[in-house]
């Protein structure tokens, strides 16, 4: 049943979008965290994506038996989660306990506006994939009605 492959494709993207939301939430929550375990302020996290070929029984069997290239259906997968290496924001606040000797506090390199924009993108992407998934389901249900 070919539809299961499509389900896998859409669900892989849903997982990735959910992870993206986690990262954005984490960045927003720590937008003002000036000290972490390593001693430096919180660094913004982001992830890079790569396509991931979706395999099922049929495609593996075909590639083994027929000596034929695998079908090119790609889901999505996280390549890696990286820390943003851009410099920290310096804010003059001598009263802050984490201020350096000149009175400057290093603030995390999280830009709230960018995070909010990314959040909307992730949400829209999630919705698009939910639509694709429900369409797949509707198609499969329609196919079941043929013999009725």
């Amino acid at each position: 049943m070919d539809f299961f492959k499509t389900f896998n494709i859409s669900s892989s993207s849903l997982t990735v979008n959910r992870l993206q939301m986690n990262l954005i939430s984490s960045n927003l929550a720590n937008a003002y965290t000036t000290k972490t375990e390593t001693g430096e302020p919180y660094r913004r996290r982001f992830m890079t994506l790569i396509p991931k070929a979706v395999e099922d029984f049929q495609s593996v069997l075909d590639s083994e038996v027929k000596d034929k290239d695998k079908e090119l259906f790609y889901g999505v997968n996280v390549d890696e989660i990286k820390k943003d290496e851009t410099p920290f924001r310096k804010v003059f606040n001598p009263a802050h306990p984490h201020a350096d000797k000149n009175g400057y506090v290093s603030m995390p390199n999280v830009n709230v506006m960018i995070e909010m924009a990314n959040m909307v993108t992730a949400k829209r992407s999630y919705e698009a994939n939910v639509t694709a998934l429900s369409t797949t389901k509707a198609m499969a249900m329609k196919a079941l009605e043929i013999g009725k």
């Binding site: 859409s10 993207s13 090119l72 639509t131 694709a132 043929i146």
Partner: protein, 166 residues
């Protein structure tokens, strides 16, 4: 004497029957040629084949569009799409396909389910979510249309069978 005449008569009779049989019954010398002449409308005509292929191609297309939507944020990923029209035309127009010959009774014929997909003009272009969603919807409608049509056709056949029996 009587015996030989009887033997002769039997042989002539058999020969006569054979000659008449060949002349009037027109036993086909080449059975493969004769097969095409059977004047019977197939129960499952061309439309079933077309709709079946439509379902196959749109299902494939749906997987590709889903891939595109899943990879909307993946850098370097380009559109993957097949051309429905061209693929269907190729699949249905191919009467002169490469045929395998059975030289032994245990040979199994080639599976006829392989579809040679023709790529669309949009293949390899930059991804656009709006276009993909529109394509998804369009493709879904096409699938539903084919499924509905098949269901209708089968329903008609079923009706016919039921009415004829009662």
């Amino acid at each position: 004497m009587l015996k030989t005449t009887e033997g002769f008569n039997q042989v002539t009779l058999v020969l006569m029957v054979l000659t008449i049989g060949i002349k009037f019954a027109q036993i086909p010398i080449n059975p493969t040629k004769e097969r095409k002449k059977i004047p019977m409308k197939p129960l499952f005509g061309k439309l079933y084949d077309t709709m079946e292929r439509t379902l196959d191609i749109t299902k494939h297309q749906h997987s590709l569009i889903s891939s595109n939507i899943a990879n909307i944020d993946t850098p370097g990923y380009t559109t993957k799409e097949v051309s429905f029209k061209k693929t269907l035309k190729r699949v249905l127009g191919d009467d002169i396909q490469v045929q395998m010959i059975k030289t032994h009774s245990t040979h199994i014929g080639p599976s006829n389910n392989e579809i040679d997909y023709v790529l669309s003009d949009r293949e390899g272009k930059k991804l656009d979510l709006d276009v993909e969603m529109a394509k998804l919807s369009q493709n879904n409608l096409r699938y539903r249309m084919a499924a509905e049509m098949l269901a209708h056709k089968f329903g008609g056949l079923k009706d016919l069978i039921n009415k004829a029996g009662s």
